[in-house]
Symmetry: C2
Subunit: 365 residues, 2 copies
């Protein structure tokens, strides 16, 4: 067991107590999710078995005695004969997931399938791993729900728009990484967003993801009851990305809070949706309050991304470029070329970070 | 004005009063949305102008004296020089929307871009309007967010997965139909779902869309405050679709309530997600309660679809096939061929309905 201890603390009141899953090992897992749920018994789950199975120092030479697996928290998975990752068109009964994905160390996710294909082409060039025929097959070609590409230890996956769409993808991605016995995985969402008081083109690395009332939480309804989850992201990873931006010196990058909304128009106080029942002043007042709460930008996926990555032990960051300053407008007025150049910035920053990490690892090994 | 009167009723308490938009005309609009919002003044909005502009009896011979436009409820739209429908890659400044879409009478929407292309091919054949070269260009080819196809008066649009993704599409679709001066539009969502206590392959036409606590409402956060919207769908349209299924006599169809969730795994009490903190019995108890509340199936878009269509005066239905009985399992065990045949059922039913409507219209004209 290598010192791995799992403690499940439960108490009895249905909406104000619950399950804390602490997994302690050579590296203390930084998660302490509190799920408000019904009382239940100690359920060891499948993470223990996985940890034992993958405690192989060859997997990561940088952290010989300290690898971190990808956790699922679901004892029922062990009872499945095959696990079908339906929205990926993959499964444990039909694909050799350890052979296909066991070496993954970096996962980049973004809304647009085109952008995630572009990212894998970019990272292949950055790492000197270009395919001479420029062929990067879509691993999820059997479905049109998501697109997935892989080069070396880097996986690139699209997630569509909104928390529901990214949550489906993350459930199946976390299971995929778990079934593939991956360890020490860093996951970064690269995307676009609306800025508040920032020059368009600024890149924001998220500190905390906030809801539309400026609280750092994600609410998930389970069995009809609301569960509150923590939306902190990995602060050391955010700082490393900020340092990379300084070294790159190509565009401005800041660390700040990101507001995650369920809706793009009314939910983000836009004046240009099909429905709008508030005034320009109402909008400005709301965005000003957001700014006062430390919100630098607004997008639609970071809260559930932060919550789920934290629960599964994935080191996670959100890196979004701002396409406009929402205090000055709602529609995009910049030229296609300028907007395209902005959209490249998160991938440039993350590409630089990955190359730097792999170089450091090569030196240590 | 043809008897058109618009009344905006407001009151002052921020969370317990609001705006009721009643539009009375030759045909009484069946919407009575209540938006909990701050007090605001009478704002006639742009729907009146549009109604006047498009009050043209030639537009719909079936209802010579009674056409119904597509409403936006946003006075700010009139102040925009151009309206960019960003996620469609279309706009009023770059495209002649009335010429492109002015004849649209039926809109079918569904999650998968492939399925919506398949639908337009199917409906073209049904209506005898096949392109000899089988070319059905994607009108939104400039973006990968949504796909859109058109044959005659039928528009087919993909919406991705989840309420956030479909809401962005619907905001821009409603504006598109409004800018194109469309009248008497029927919109139907065709999709897949998990059934409760129904034989897999049963088609469910939604009566009301319910949330995860079995209440017929959709909650939208606007300026940080929760607004509650009605999720009733058009009952006469549901009955017409049920009658069509009887005439087709190919598969079972029922009218029932549909639960709309934000999450596919924990949100639908599945046991096969990356995280699961409840037992098989907890799951069964929850789904049984849903069934007792009249829920026949579960999907992820119907609530915001019902709410937004109701607000914009679109006659709307949700037609989803059940791929499995959730009381008996969570993963899909049927063969690919069987699942594919199930997925065709909503399009067969809706295709029959559209053909029947167009035939009836041709007889009347």
């Amino acid at each position: 067991m290598s010192g791995l201890v799992m403690t499940l603390v439960t108490c009895s009141t249905s909406l104000h107590c619950g399950l804390e899953a602490h997994v302690r090992g050579p590296r203390q897992l930084r998660e302490s999710e509190i799920i408000f749920q019904k009382q239940r018994k100690r359920t060891p789950g499948s993470q223990t078995a996985t940890y034992q199975r993958k405690m192989n120092p060859k997997d990561d030479k940088r952290t010989d005695l300290c690898t971190s697996p990808v956790f699922v928290h679901n004892p029922h998975l062990d009872t499945l004969k095959d696990d079908v990752l339906y929205h990926f068109g993959l499964g444990t009964g039909t694909h050799d997931l350890p052979a296909m994905f066991g070496d993954v160390k970096f996962v980049c996710v973004g809304g647009s399938p085109w952008r995630m294909k572009s990212f894998i082409e970019y990272i292949a060039a950055e790492l000197g791993m270009e395919d001479p025929k420029s062929e990067y097959p879509n691993i999820c070609a059997g479905t049109d729900r998501y697109a997935m590409y892989k080069v070396g230890s880097v996986l690139s996956v699209s997630h569509g728009m909104g928390i529901s769409s990214i949550a489906i993808m993350l459930h199946e991605l976390i299971k995929l990484l778990h079934h593939a016995h991956c360890t020490d995985v860093t996951i970064i969402r690269i995307g676009t967003s609306g800025g508040i008081g920032l020059k368009p083109g600024t890149v924001v690395v998220t500190k905390q993801s906030m809801d539309a009332t400026f609280l750092p939480k994600f609410e998930q309804v389970i069995l009809g009851k609301t569960v509150v989850r923590n939306t902190d992201l990995d602060q050391s990873l955010a700082e490393e990305l900020l340092q990379c931006s300084k070294e790159l010196n190509q565009f401005e990058t800041v660390i700040g809070n990101t507001m995650c909304t369920l809706d793009f128009y009314e939910g983000q106080a836009r004046l240009d949706g099909a429905f709008c029942s508030y005034t320009e002043k109402d909008k400005q007042d709301y965005l000003t309050k957001a700014s006062e709460a430390g919100v630098c930008n607004i997008e639609m996926e970071s809260s559930v991304f932060a919550a789920m990555c934290k629960m599964s032990g994935l080191r996670a960051a959100v890196v979004c470029v701002t396409l406009l300053d929402r205090l000055k407008g709602d529609q995009l007025n910049e030229s296609h070329e300028v907007l395209h150049s902005y959209q490249l910035r998160p991938q440039i920053l993350v590409g630089y970070y990955i190359r730097k990490q792999l170089k450091a690892k090569a030196v240590c090994s």
